[in-house]
Amino acid sequence: MQKELPDLAVLVKLSQRGDKEAYGKIYRFYVERIYRFVYYLIGNQPVAEDITQVTFLRLWKNLPSLSTHKGTFQAYAYTTARNLVIDWQRKKKDVSLDAAAQLEEADTNTDSLIIQEEAKQLHHVLASLPSEDRQLVSLRYFEELSYSDIAKIIGKNEGSIRVKLHRILAMLKNKLKGKI
């Protein structure tokens, strides 16, 4: 699991009272996570940056209605980002594979070429999945969020999220077997 921001509840409470410094701490902790999540889904750096900024603006605006309960802010941040991505995708109507290409270019020194190739294949398979399935994979395996948080973000119950992820993994296995 990824480390949590210490005293998040206190920072959210302070932000709700208009403390921008406290909100700055929250921003710095989550900005890259939200950016990665958005970028993975749309594959366009400037747009991903814009969506990330708008996400934090919306969060600030809606802070009063947020509970300070642990996990609520994180789930709400991803939900806001997800909704903005969905809006953008509706307007754009096509999902770019730039993200896959850029991810493939990165970090070429650490892994062997064979593993690189397998990861590349997997990424192509992932890129061909429906948007919601990719969101699930990203939130569970890349962002390492809990099932309950993912359920809140996607708006389904925890059980169905587990089942869906299990099916996605099985499908990825089958597709990779055919490719490699």
Binding site: Y23, V31, R36, F56, A106
Partner: protein
């Protein structure tokens, strides 16, 4: 290689995705500038849907409250027109079988109001009450509440209502004859003839206290009142009546 291992490997790639250097350096400052243009978040920030719902609820509560408060008003009071309007709406929206009952209730309320304002002795209120009475009966007559009724169960209501309306014809405008029919003649405005009192007795409750003279009138006016106005006295049953 297991799928989870591939995903773990992919995660390492995933985590290398970073925003531009410019965004990392100036992202927060740009956001703070935009936050500065917005007000501090408020606890009662409504979303559009919530705002519409809250407004609708508020308007509904105010309307219901006003109609409820108006039910005890008398002619010449601020909320009295609301009472009359709510009755008009009620009698129009009610199912056919309830219309007569509501209409009878309206007439009953007008009579009660007339009795109350008469006992209070405010001439303006009495005039207003009589006008409202006439307006109500006219309005109910226009509605033809008994048209098309064949059901025997509603026959009683129909007859009852017809009788009430007939008994009020001519309507009480003539009861306070000089004040209504000759409004321009101010000297006679506040007078009530003996005939009208007799007629009133047939319509209003038997005991009508004496109306108080109007305070706004001058000394000379009091002399005139003595001559022209008739005192309404409380009728006490006499021996002859009992017989």
């Amino acid at each position: 290689m297991k799928i989870t291992e591939s995903l773990y490997l992919l995660k390492k790639h995933y985590q290398t995705a970073k925003p531009s250097l410019d965004f990392r350096k100036h992202g927060w400052n740009a956001l703070v500038t935009e936050l500065g243009e917005q007000d501090k978040p408020t606890r009662f920030a409504f979303r559009p849907g919530q705002f519409i719902l809250a407004t609708a609820t508020f308007v509904l509560l105010i309307s219901v409250g006003t109609v409820f408060a108006s039910q005890r008003t008398l002619p010449n009071q601020t909320l009295f027109p609301v009472k009359v309007l709510s009755e008009k709406i009620a009698v129009r929206l009610a199912p056919a079988s309830f219309k007569a009952e509501i209409a009878a209730g309206m007439i009953d309320r007008r009579l009660t109001e007339l009795a109350t304002v008469t006992s209070a002795g405010n001439q303006q209120s009495i005039e207003q009450s009589v006008k409202t009475f006439k307006a109500t009966t006219d309005d109910l007559t226009k509605l033809n509440l008994w048209d098309g009724w064949e059901d025997e169960s509603v026959e009683e209501h129909r007859d009852e209502l017809q009788n009430v309306v007939k008994s009020l014809t001519p309507t009480p405008t003539s009861l306070i004859a000089p004040s209504i029919e000759r409004e321009d003649e101010t000297e006679e405005k506040e007078s009530i003839s003996r005939e009208t009192i007799d007629e009133l007795k047939t319509v209003l409750p038997a005991t009508i206290p004496t109306p108080k003279p109007t305070q706004s009138s001058g000394d000379n006016r009091e002399d005139k009142d003595k001559d022209s106005s008739i005192e309404i006295k409380v009728l006490e049953p006499t021996d002859s009546d009992e017989e």
